[in-house]
Symmetry: C2
């Protein structure tokens, strides 16, 4: 809830998650907070990440954070909001299209594209899966859950057999997980994404 005061949302094209240090000029305060918080939320966990820790890593004090985000939850919500918007657009695209095999394929490709092109959406999803219990207590988290269910429903009719539904659900999961599961063996980002898509398309077929 609430998108708070603070400066206007800039959200520059940024993919890497390595704002280890002050080399991060080029980002406004709000973005830098989001970035550092997201890293910590993924690695240490949302609950175990204190505002003090975030502030320290940014070289400011806790109180400074409160100027940009009224609560800790608001940091998460701001992160999730972008992602929700993008998926909502994709669902809108799919809305009245007939559920053909080609349509489903195109749907997954667009899904993958939105996940990897946009701003750190892959890391937002990683946060989501690594902090499931936290996310369930958030309104924005509930929204994401609903969307995910709708995405799955695009890929498989709710009254298809259980095995088919599961198989198609895994297509989405392949797109999500591929990026991280393969990280150690396949260093090339693009190659990983393509491999994941290959598996996903395979799962959609009969």
């Amino acid at each position: 809830m609430s998108d708070s005061p603070g400066p206007v949302r800039t959200l520059r094209g940024r993919n890497r998650i390595t704002s280890d240090d002050p080399a991060d000029a080029g980002m406004d305060a709000r973005s830098r907070i989001q970035q550092v918080a997201l890293e910590l939320f993924i690695e240490v966990g949302y609950d175990k990440t204190s505002l003090r820790e975030i502030a320290e890593k940014l070289g400011v004090t806790k109180a400074a954070l409160y100027y940009h985000f009224p609560t800790k939850e608001d940091i998460v919500n701001s992160l999730i909001q972008d992602r929700i918007t993008v998926v909502a657009e994709l669902l809108e695209w799919a809305r009245d299209r007939p559920r053909t095999a080609e349509m489903r394929l195109e749907f997954v490709r667009r899904y993958s594209e939105g996940l990897h092109r946009g701003n750190r959406h892959d890391y937002v999803m990683r946060f989501f899966e690594r902090n499931q219990t936290v996310v369930n207590t958030l309104a924005a988290g509930e929204a994401m859950r609903d969307q995910l269910a709708k995405v799955v429903d695009v890929l498989a009719d709710p009254d298809e057999p259980a095995a088919v539904r599961l198989r198609r659900s895994l297509a989405i999961f392949a797109v999500h997980a591929g990026h991280f599961i393969l990280r150690d063996r396949e260093p090339d980002d693009q190659k990983r994404i393509e491999a994941a898509l290959e598996v996903a398309e395979d799962l959609l077929g009969d």
Copy 2:
């Protein structure tokens, strides 16, 4: 670490996770604590579950818990320990067997069996996936991660192409997730397990 004082480990055959109330005679104190804690850890999350809450649900006080488990972490560790043992045995079984297609199939079947027959192992795994960031700070959690990697390595040679590796990894995930993903559409436990196995076997083929 540490398996603490407390009574001897009994761990009766028990599958349901519904110890809502004192209808849970038949379990010793230690098991009842594990049961209630596991439920809360899954639903509310490990961090947000306080010992007070666990104690309240059991109708005792916090201090009583400390008699059975020296720390909060020890509850988790005791839960995970069984699971680690079972998977270790399965990996031992697989150790020197040739990696044929039949062997992989049998491996996954045994994996599924150990997951659903044993004592609430499916819920332990659900705890694992829903509290990933917490589990990573635990020694026992690290052990589970290692085992999972080894399980995947049984199904796919580390130097096979990325897409193949991902596909096979998903076989294990299907077994894990199927049970929960399909819960709303397919009420029959056994049917869900079979559907998941069907998908898993499919993913192992070429």
